[in-house]
Structures are given as C-alpha cells and as structure tokens.
Symmetry: C2
Subunit: 337 residues, 2 copies
DNA sequence: CTGAAAGCGCTTACAG
DNA sequence: CTGAAAGCGCTTACAG
C-alpha cells in the first residue's frame, strides 16, 4: 500500500505539504505542487479514507435509515434509494443502507461515529427515531415529514398532487370522487405522515364539490385493492372516480372493480398517485398515474443533508415536489345516470 | 464523546484491557471484566468504528457495486439489495451502495481502503469489473456468474428453473414452447451471463420434445413485451406456451397477445420466471410465476463474502438456487387444433 | 492476567 | 510557502 509518506519522500516534501495539495487546503508553490502531483501519478497514490476520517472526524458516509423493505413490492422505493446514492456519490459521499427497526440498535449505530449524517425514510407523524436522532446530535434529513415543520425534509407535495388529480377528474365531469389510501398497523399518531396529509388534502380539494367524502384505507396488496373495490361498491356506490394513493393495491382495485361489474373507466375512473408510470402500464387498462418524483427527491434529500454538513445553507431546507400527471386509459367521462 | 480512555480511567485499567474485553480478544480476570463492563454501562460507551478500522485495517464495510438501477422497474432488485444489507448487518457489517459504471472511478474507490469486500451485481459473461477487482486484491463475491466458474458466486439456478418450467408446461400437454428473454445493448461476449445460461438451459430442456426452438429477445419494458407477442405470432405461430425470463416485459406480453386475439391461457400459456409473485398478481390473468429467491441470494452473497473475509471457508462458495413455481392463472391445457 | 508503547495513515494548529 | 509534531481513538505485539 502506498501512503502519503511515500509520496512525500519521492517529492522531497513533508507529508503536511502533500496533504495540502491533495485537499487544496493551503497555498502551495507551483513547482512544489507539480512535483507532488507527479509523485502521486507515478505511485498511483490514493488517500486512505479511513485515516482521513479519523484525523478529520468526518467520514463522508451518509446512512439511509429505513424499516424492513425486503418484502415490499414498492416500485418507488428503489428510485428513492438510488437517487440518494447517486446524489451522495456526486458530492463525494458514500451511502450506507441501515435496515433498522428498534431504536436500541439505532443508538448503537449513531454513537459509533461511522456516519456524518442520516437520511430517514418512512417518517411517521410522530416518530421516535427523530427524537433519537435529535438526541444524538447527528445531522439528518427526512424523506417525508413529521408533525413539526422545523426539521429539514424533502417530500412529495401531496396537497398539490391531490388538487391536480381532482382537477383532472373534474375536467372529465366527475363530482363524486373517492379516496383510497393505505392502512397501517401503526398505532394512532404514529402513522406515516403521508396518509394524514393525503386525507386532509383530499377533503380540501373535494369541498367545493359539495359531495360527501368517501375514504377507504386498505393494505398495500392486491387483496387490499380488491377489498377497496368492494367497500367502495357497498358504502359509496355513487362514486364515479377514485384517487388511489396506495401503489401496491392498484392492480387489485382494477381487478376487483371489474369483478363487481364496474368497468374501468366506463363506470369508474381511477388515478393512481405517487407511483411509477411503468407500474401503471402493467395494468389493463393502463392506469392514469401521477408519477412520484422519487429519483429527484432521493437526490435532493442527499443534497439537503450534505448542505447541512458543509454549512452551505442557513435555514433547514424544505423541499416539496408534486407528482406529475401521466395520462393512461383509466380515466374517462363521468357516466350519466 | 466518551472514549476508551474514559472507560479505562473509570475502571482503573489500561485501555488495552478495555479493548480486550470489548473484543473478547484476550482472557481477562472476572472482577476486572466486571469493572470494565460496569464502566461501559455507566458511561454509555460505544467504540469508535473509524478508529477501530484504522488500527485493525478492517472497516467491516461491504460495498454493493451495481450499474445505474435508478430507472429500472425491477421488483427483484430491491429484494437482492435488502437481502444483502440484512445479511451484512446481522454479521456486524455495513453495506454501502456504489452506483458505478466506468472503471476509472472504480479503481479510485477500491484503493481508498473504505471497504473490506465487494458484492458485484449484474455480472456479465466477460466482465471488466471482475478484472479490476482481481487486480485490486479486494475480496469479492458475485451475484451472477462470469464464464469462469472459479470465483465465488451466488446465482439463480437457471438450468433447474427452466427445466421445472418446461416440465410444468408439459404436464399441461404443451410441446411447442417458446422462450422470451431480454435484449441487451451490450456487445457480444459482454451480455449478462443470465441470458446465455437461460438460452442453453432452454435448448437442453426442449430437446426431448423434438420441436424446433423459438427464442425471442426484447427489451424489458411493456413495449418490449408487446413486440415479443407480435414476433411470436409472426415467426412462431405454432407455439402454445411461453417461458418468459424478462420481468419488465411480462405485462406487455399478455396485453400484446390478447390484442392479437390470443387469449391467455386458452390459446397461449405463460410462465414468468425470475420475478416476484406480487408482480405476477398485478397482471390479468394473474401470472404463473417462478419466484426469484432474491432475498435469500442477497443474504447468501453477503454471507459468502464475509466467510471469505473471515477465513471461514476453504473453497470459493458456489450457491445456486432455483426459482420456485407459484401457480397463477396463466397456464392452461395446450389447445387441441 | 495486565500494562506501556508503538503504530494505523492521515489532518491541522503552530512555528518559522 | 513549508515542516515538525501532536493527535484522531483504537489494536496489537511485546514484556512482565
């Protein structure tokens, strides 16, 4: 292994000077710099990042903290993760994956000094992991939001997304629009913030329509989707359109509706929000989706965290991006009865 | 920050002794050990992993090297990744994501000393990254295989998987079975090994049937799937069943077939291999799939690499697991004409 | 069984 | 503009 000492000897300088040119941290005479750069080239030297981390007490490693994602068929998740990994890489950081659930394990990890900062996914309205993070002093950024708005976050702009979805459906004449979200096993107050935000955005957006709200929460699976279809048929038969914010249930909702004799989109229009175009295309008929800006959000989350680490920014960054409408074949004119 | 020195002082021992009890690396008198453990508790001490890494020249970080996965709607990929992250975590290692394409960047990373070992995804038959890895001396394991069989790898057992698929279709009376794989932009000899292995397994498995082979390669998208449907109809109209090893094309193949008037499964049976049950269920009719053992393979890849790092194993581990058949509604009796 | 000390490969005040 | 030296927080022969 070639070290900084080897480079220094070959260039006839001290290791301090080598460090200065590598980091650009101090002015160095042009000839000296040239000698050092030549030596680095010739020896094919790379600085040891572990030693650098110990000496500078900065590891340039970011952790992505997430619950168990192993079993979930969630197309947007990998886009998030990869977006964050790319964003980090481009700024000279590495991203490590931390599949962590209990917070005992979490405090272990945080105190180890491995990471400079943390990205937190699947944030709950009230999230104990945020408290842990705050207590640990390790900088972090959220993908999603808690109830308090003073922490740095990036998130889907659900209000704008739902508003857009409702506007799109209204332009097709729909007035009775239902919402299908995701049921969670979390206790009250600890649900993903997403669900609460979606519901209140929905209530706001349909208020002008005068029709009563119709909200159904089911599991994020095909079975959940079928359940949603039958609950809609039984409890809200007047609804002519559905906004779905439950990626995993999308196929089941279409299949279930059809099984109950409701054609899509002739009898029931569907918009699937916060998902991917590719997933929508798999379904028959191809769903009109609102594509989650997952790759961008992942990147921006990494950026926000790194800005914070490097003291670039002043206020905690708050980034909101709405989903983009991608018309498919699942939205049609409201049926006249 | 509380250091080992703090613990040593409080327990009235040297830091060496503290190190011994933390690592279990040397026998320590019971009373001394108790004092040290108490001090650790009281101070809530956690060993600094960076310092440990520098001193021991082992970082306990593994890297997952993969091409750009950002855009791909591949349900099995995240299962792989998370499986590997879990496997690593359980053995006290961290997994970092390295989105790397050019190998200039790669040698930079390898020489930095950040990682103890590398997991390589999307392995090509002839893969320059493998040469780089070999040259760098950093231990690694493959997810997939190159042409040479002497490197440690875990992979789907495509031979067994295809054999199983053919047997399943034969039990329904099918004798003319086509194969749909994935087209790649890679130059000859640098394709993913998977494709070559699948094709030769297919040729072996259908040989006893006497029918001529029918192989179609398309892109892993809905459009690709539709293209496969029309090529099959035009070039291989006699085929009554398809084995699909192209997750992204599955929905398109079904839709395209139906659009051409071939019902699934009445006119055409389909098995989708190396995918997930959840993805199969999204499609109408629900596909009969052969589920990729992605979570296990991810875990086993991490295990194989760690075994290697810790000198546990002797021969390079070679792990092959076939996909498991999960019957859906897309396979039926061969039509009689 | 325990400790003093060297060393891992860097960074960073501090002098000059 | 450059260097000598301390220090980051551990591990690990080596003595005793």
């Amino acid at each position: 292994m070639v070290t900084m000492r080897d480079v220094a000897e070959r260039a006839n300088v001290s290791i301090a000077t080598v460090s200065f040119v590598i980091n650009g941290s101090k002015r160095v005479a042009p000839e000296t710099r040239a000698r050092i750069e030549a030596a680095i080239q010739e020896l094919n030297y790379r600085r040891n990042v572990v030693a650098r981390a110990l000496a500078s007490s900065r590891t340039r490693i970011l952790a992505l903290l997430h619950p168990d994602l192993e079993s979930r068929p969630n197309a947007t998740v990998i886009q998030f993760v990869m977006g964050a990994a790319h964003g980090a890489r481009e700024r000279g950081y590495d991203l490590v994956l931390w599949p962590v659930n209990d917070d005992e394990q979490m405090s272990h990890l945080l105190a180890g000094g491995l990471v400079d900062g943390v990205l937190l996914m699947e944030v709950r309205i009230s999230d104990p992991r945020v408290e842990r993070l705050l207590a640990s002093g390790v900088p972090f950024a959220l993908i999603g939001r808690t109830e308090k708005d003073d922490l740095p976050y990036v998130d889907i702009d659900f209000a704008a997304t739902i508003e857009l979805a409702v506007a799109h459906l209204r332009s097709f004449g729909h007035e009775r629009i239902a919402l299908v979200t995701q049921r969670t096993k979390a206790q009250a107050g600890h649900e993903p913030g997403r669900i609460m935000r979606v519901e209140s955005a929905y209530l706001d957006a349909i208020a002008p329509l005068g029709a009563p709200p119709a909200i159904v929460a089911v599991e994020g699976t095909s079975a959940g989707g079928r359940e949603a279809a039958s609950v809609l048929g039984a409890d809200f038969p007047g609804s002519t359109a559905v906004i779905l914010v439950n990626e995993g249930a999308s196929a089941g909702l279409v299949k279930g509706s059809r099984a109950l004799g409701r054609r899509v989109p002739e009898d029931l229009s569907i918009i699937s929000a916060a998902t991917t175009r590719e997933l929508g295309e798999m379904i028959e008929p191809a769903l009109t989706v609102m594509a989650a800006p997952a790759p961008q959000l992942g990147r921006l989350a990494a950026d926000a965290l790194i800005d914070q680490l490097e003291g670039v920014q002043d206020a905690p960054p708050h980034v909101l991006i709405p989903c983009a409408l991608e018309p498919g074949q699942s939205v049609g004119p409201a049926p006249v009865d």
